[in-house]
């Protein structure tokens, strides 16, 4: 049986002017279990709190009801006070008689009656309160960043600078990501490599950063502060410690017919290769599908020419297991496949290319050494047409329903660069809308029109028809002039929609992080927690969460890093004790609760259960209190009532209902 104290606050006249506080005290004393009741002008004041303390000591109170302002205001205050005076903080309940009563009612009798009922409900609840202890779990002071693009690199550097260890896991042979494939960046037109490479070097040289390239996350277990991750380090066939990066092997390699991924397949590479000159680490890998040695057993040229003796054909994939306190997902994006867009003749004509391919064409290290030329015949194009929104804003299943966000800006960039370098080349852009919010963005687009004479036409292109003379006929409409346009072009560039890296689905499943219908990772709150996943300890950086450009990506990377640092700075995590708890005797093991848990906090174990003398192995739900956030979705999903929420238990809420209705 509880011994309950009720403390009614006047809040100056805020409450006392409309609620007869003396009457509430009098009514409280009639409630079962209430052994003490008093009123005071300011319960939250030092003096008010010490009165609570005295009552706890003198009346041996086991539970407290404070009738005052909203619990959102002072619940924490009174919980701390109770704890100070030796009572478990979760034995405190607040009856909100200010915001929900005195401030909205004028009639004293009515307000007093309502305040009394709210007090009763709180008393009824306290009767069923149980002392709760916040759990603790230790934090592994090391972070994992999945993805080595600009998002991952920036996050890693920021975390490492704060003094914590970070591992980057990158699937390809080098870090750098999409940004390393870009030629120039908007809106400043500085060289992408020039600003990225220093970051890559900084990450590689950082004492707190370990980079696992050519590696993939294989398995994740654990929870916030305590993740255990298996990482598959794929066999490079090149000893990373011995290799000097001289490049002789790549020159001598006889297998040179593999499409070069880095150049989007616009030219070929050797079987042993580094993806690009500034790669980090500057150590090649052997593509065993292309390598003659691996296909036929005969060759071994690279091994012969390697002065350092770094080539090792016997290497096997290796799996390492590491512990982390936090995980950042920075898996980036790719462009969508255009197989279904036959009308743009991509794939039919070599001169229809995507914007990312154009980046490579314009880049000095690209397939044309930076010369703008047609990939079909090497001639300089005189008419270039850009088509916007290819696969973006598309509600059918060919494309994506969202705006890819970056295309308007990079197209303006491309147009401007071309007009600048090749003034006799005409550039036409077919657009639906031009979207340029952002600092100096619209100015940039206007410069393309006003200073560089880029011809913008509103209207999506209907089709691109390759002509016998090798040119391309672009059929469209100028919607503003209501005019059919048949434009002959030498090159067509498609602003292809971007989509999250397809691997992200696998990773999200491993992390129990949720993913939306477009495969973007879901943030914990779209406005207030944009860099956190709903799964505690998992953070989001870059395009994996939604389309964004480089400055936004870097900003989000920093934000994610701050969240990680905030987590790793703690030695132990205090967990909210108001978590779900399963009654093993009632649990059916049906998994219904786990299906609705947004945090993956519920797992199942087969346990020997002693149910009033009947012993049997049963599959029962187990809640990880470090992951559970206490929403209660599981408690309602559970058909047998085995799952309950501490602090808001079924019986507590029902007691409040009963008290209000009686």
């Amino acid at each position: 049986m509880q011994r309950i104290g009720v403390f009614v606050c006047h809040c100056g006249s805020n409450i006392a002017a409309t609620v007869d506080v003396k009457k509430v005290v009098e009514m409280a004393l009639k409630e079962q279990g209430v052994v003490h009741a008093e009123d005071y002008p300011y319960m939250c004041s030092e003096a008010g709190q010490s009165r609570i303390g005295e009552a706890i000591a003198q009346k041996k109170l086991t539970g407290i009801v404070v009738c005052s302002c909203s619990p959102r205001m002072h619940e924490a205050t009174f919980r701390k006070a109770a704890e100070r005076y030796g009572l478990n903080p979760y034995m405190v309940e607040i009856a909100n008689i200010r915001e929900h009563c005195s401030w909205i009612h004028k009639d004293m009798e009515e307000a007093t009656e309502k305040a009394t009922i709210l007090m009763r409900a709180a008393v009824a609840k306290v009767h069923l309160n149980a002392p709760l202890q916040a759990g603790e779990s230790k934090v592994t002071k090391r972070a994992l960043v999945i993805g080595g693009g600009i998002a991952g690199i920036q996050t890693a550097i920021d975390i490492a600078d704060a003094g914590y260890k970070v591992d980057i896991v990158e699937k390809t042979p080098s870090i750098g990501g999409r940004m390393s494939q870009l030629d120039k960046t908007f809106p400043t037109l500085d060289c992408s490599a020039c600003i990225l490479t220093p970051k890559m070097v900084e990450a590689a040289a950082h004492e707190n950063i370990t980079i696992h390239t050519y590696s993939e996350v294989e398995k994740v277990s654990g929870f916030v502060g305590n993740f255990t991750v298996d990482i598959r380090k794929k066999a490079r066939m090149v000893d990373i410690d011995k290799c000097t990066g001289c490049g002789v092997c790549q020159e001598k390699c006889p297998s040179k017919k593999t499409p070069n991924e880095f150049n989007r397949g616009l030219n070929n590479r050797s079987a042993i290769y580094t993806p690009f000159a500034q790669a980090i680490p500057n150590v090649p890998v052997i593509d065993t599908d292309a390598c003659i040695k691996f296909k036929t057993g005969k060759c071994g040229v690279c091994q012969k020419v390697c002065q350092a003796g770094a080539i090792d054909y016997t290497q096997k994939d290796e799996i390492i297991t590491e512990n982390y306190g936090a995980i950042v997902v920075a898996t980036g994006f790719d462009t969508i496949k255009l197989d279904q867009y036959g009308e743009y003749a991509y794939g039919q004509s070599k001169d229809v290319i995507t914007s990312l391919e154009l980046e490579r064409v314009m880049n000095a290290a690209g397939p044309t050494k930076g010369h703008l030329e047609r990939l079909s015949d090497g001639k300089a194009p005189k008419e270039i047409v850009f088509i916007q929104c290819v696969g973006s804003r598309c509600s059918d299943d060919r494309g994506k329903p969202y705006c890819s966000k970056i295309c308007c800006m990079y197209t303006a960039k491309h147009a401007m660069l071309i007009r600048d370098k090749y003034p006799d080349t005409n550039v036409t852009v077919f657009y639906i809308d031009v979207r340029t919010p952002g600092k100096n963005f619209d100015e940039f687009y206007r410069r393309a029109v006003e200073d560089y004479g880029v011809n913008y036409i509103k209207g999506q292109v209907g089709k691109v028809i390759p002509q016998p003379d090798g040119s391309l006929l672009v059929q469209g409409v100028d919607l503003l002039d209501q005019k059919r346009i048949m434009k002959k072009a030498d090159m067509v560039v498609l602003a292809t929609a971007i989509e999250p890296n397809p691997d992200v689905r696998k990773i999200a499943t491993m992390l129990t992080a949720s993913i939306d219908t477009n495969n973007f990772l879901t943030e914990a709150h779209p406005k207030l927690r944009p860099v956190e996943s709903p799964t505690a300890g998992v953070f989001l950086s870059g395009v994996c969460q939604g389309p964004k450009d480089i400055p936004e990506t870097v900003a989000q990377a920093g934000a994610a890093a701050v969240k990680v640092i905030g987590l790793l700075a703690k030695d132990k995590l205090k967990t909210n004790p108001c978590t779900a708890k399963s009654d093993e005797l009632l649990c059916n093991g049906c998994s219904t609760c786990a299906n609705v848990c947004p945090y993956g906090a519920i797992t199942y174990e087969t346990k020997l259960i002693n149910d009033h003398g009947i012993r049997e192995d049963r599959r029962v739900a187990v809640v990880n209190s470090a992951l559970c956030q206490g929403c209660g979705a599981c408690t309602v999903a559970c058909p047998s009532g085995a799952m309950d929420l501490q602090g808001f238990s079924n019986r507590q809420i029902l007691a409040e209902v009963d008290a209000i209705c009686r």
Partner: protein, 126 residues
Amino acid sequence: MNKQAELIRQVSGVEPLKCMKCGKCSASCPSYEEMDIKPHQFVSYVQNEDIEALVASKSLYKCLSCFACIERCPRGVKPGALIDAARQVVVRQRGQQYLSADEIPALLDDEMPQQLLMSAFRKYRR
């Protein structure tokens, strides 16, 4: 809502509000030059419930029912289906209701617009 506009929406199953006015339909249309009201305008005519003008338009029978606009529309708006439905409205105005495919051969005459015939075939084949 205007009854005829409602009818067109029902018959075509098109939601004009989904249109983002990109013009790809017009850009794809082989009869664009022949039309007074352009394919992308079909949508706004229905949206604005200006069915009289749409029905009076010669575009009604300039549309070849090639359905390129339907295939390529990124929003699934189907201007071709709208114009098909507008023709249906005309048919109904003349007091003729649905045709069964068997009845068509008997009704063929030289004055009947070929386009109507084509779209009837498409309609009943579907």
